[in-house]
Amino acid sequence: MSTSTSTDTFALQLDGITKHFGGIVAIKHFDLQIKPGEIVALVGDNGAGKSTLVKIISGMYQPTAGEIRLNGAPTNFRDPSDARTKGVEVVYQDLALVDLQPVYMNMFLGRELRKKPFGTLDRREMAAQTQALVDELDVRIPSAKAPLSDLSGGQRQGIAIARATNWASSLVLMDEPTAALGVAETARVEQIIMRLRERGAGVLIVSHNMEQVFRVADRVTVLRRGTQVATKRIDEVTHNELIAMITGLTS
């Protein structure tokens, strides 16, 4: 690794990520390191460049300049499925799940397990692994075999997070994971997110909800008009300071 200050390997390392659209600079020299098991929040006002950054990390856009490293190795993503293969999983706010299938088929969607000798679907093994994972993360659902349509919005987002966690070798990227949920369900999903620390992948969470950022994140990084304003440990910053950094207004 080129970083001389640390022998740690970061789950995700962004060095000087820059994105131009024609003459417009959407992201200007963005740096970030996320350790395994660390939760970092990305905040910023609408149009600050959060979505662009999320799309770069999930493989939808390629950066104009800068380097992405996963677990220390320089990499680049051709497209989202390439990013998935390399260990970045995205939890979408609109739930990328299929509700007519059972929970375990959602967990393994696109990566179904097969059994010998005929390569048929191994439903029993998928259900067993799913049950073990939801138990570990304490996602409370009736059963891994229940159809997804029997689950509440919070339970479904719990499944989406569990799925991402299960497959992410480097990073779980969450884009407003609780935007569609009520208060009680948001609290449940936040508990699940915090339990991801023990599973070793880095977590980058985009959120508009400042209370949520203070509840779940270890560190926070702020974007304003494409420029990275600051990256702080969450106990080094107050609510008002964070708002000031986001808006650019000092009170």
Binding site: A96, L97, Q101
Partner: protein, 326 residues
């Protein structure tokens, strides 16, 4: 209607109703109509050959129903299967006349079905047109091709191996058309329920965006299903020409409604994501039984059409209304 609680769980009563109706309409209907015909026609209807006749008459519909289960599971529709039947049957019959080789003829019939399916699929995936429009257009186009091919002339099929395989043969006393029904439905069930491909079809039909971000190649899945639908229509064409010892452009002309009715009554959702292969088989036999019973009852062709239409409407209403309660 089921009651959804604030926490999103379903009430027990709602669950029972949903499970009941969704899955069993076709089986209940089958039994009710069977009892009706048995009661009104007695031994004329209830005898060993009846069952065999019902199955063998239904075979082309059953085969196409398998392709259509995949198609509807995907949330798409193929209206061109009926005219593909005629084109495939004629292509096979003409090839048979020209070469005398049963396997070349069979291959040609299946290949033309696959080509029609792929063309449909390419317009749906690449040009991004609704499958309803694409296959409505190809339905007419293919029917025209079938009429053009032999100038409306019928073509006899006399080659013995071809006739044995696709019509008159039997294996250990079991008519070969029954064997075809069992094999194709079993294969369809296996792919739908036990293969990754089947799971991907259902996922795409349920929510294409979710399937796509999960790494499923949506267009590839669609193309394969359209080709599959064409191939089942092609096979149905071979089965008709084998059984009837000839091919003509009118073959399959009225099959589209029967196939769709069989599949929908059988519990496959028109909106995608939900499928039943066994339901489609029973649905196909149900349609065949109605045809047979009405014929036996001495109804004129016009009367049969009216009664059949009414029964289909009732059965489809029951199975679709029940589905809404989920």
């Amino acid at each position: 209607m089921t009651v959804t609680q604030a926490d999103g769980t379903l009430t027990v009563g709602g669950r029972f109703r949903r499970v009941n109706w969704r899955q069993y309409v076709v089986y209940i209907g089958f039994v009710v109509v069977f009892i009706y015909f048995a009661a009104t026609q007695g031994a004329n209807f209830v005898n060993p050959t009846t069952l065999v006749t019902i199955i063998t008459q239904a075979t082309p519909i059953t085969v196409m129903a398998v392709g259509t289960v995949f198609m509807l599971s995907l949330g798409e529709i193929d209206l061109s299967i009926g005219s593909t039947v005629a084109l495939s049957a004629l292509v096979a019959a003409v090839s048979l006349q020209a070469t005398g080789q049963w396997w070349l003829a069979a291959l040609a019939g299946l290949a033309i079905g696959a080509v029609v399916g792929l063309v449909n699929g390419l317009f749906v995936t690449l040009v991004r047109l609704p499958s309803f429009l694409v296959t409505l257009a190809t339905m007419g186009l293919v029917a025209g091709l079938a009429q053009q091919l032999t100038n409306l002339q019928s073509v006899p099929v006399t080659e013995p191996v071809f006739s044995w395989i696709f019509g008159a043969g039997d294996i250990a006393g079991m008519p070969i058309l029954v064997v075809w029904s069992i094999v194709v439905v079993a294969l369809g069930w296996h792919v739908l329920r036990q293969r990754r491909f089947g799971a991907h079809v259902l996922a795409v039909g349920n929510r294409a965006a979710a399937a796509s971000v999960s790494g499923i190649r949506v267009n590839r899945v669609k193309l394969i299903v359209f080709a599959l639908s064409g191939v089942t229509a092609g096979l149905a064409g071979l089965l008709y020409s084998g059984r009837l010892a000839g091919a003509t452009y009118t073959l399959g002309g009225s099959d589209l409604m029967s196939v769709l009715a069989a599949v929908i009554v059988g519990g496959t959702a028109l909106t995608g994501g939900k499928a039943s292969m066994i339901g489609a088989l029973v649905g196909s036999l149900f349609m065949s039984m109605i045809n047979y019973g009405l014929l036996l009852g001495g109804l004129t062709v016009a009367q049969q059409m009216i009664v059949r239409g009414v029964i289909i409407l009732i059965a489809v209403s029951l199975s679709l209304r029940a589905k809404k309660s989920s």
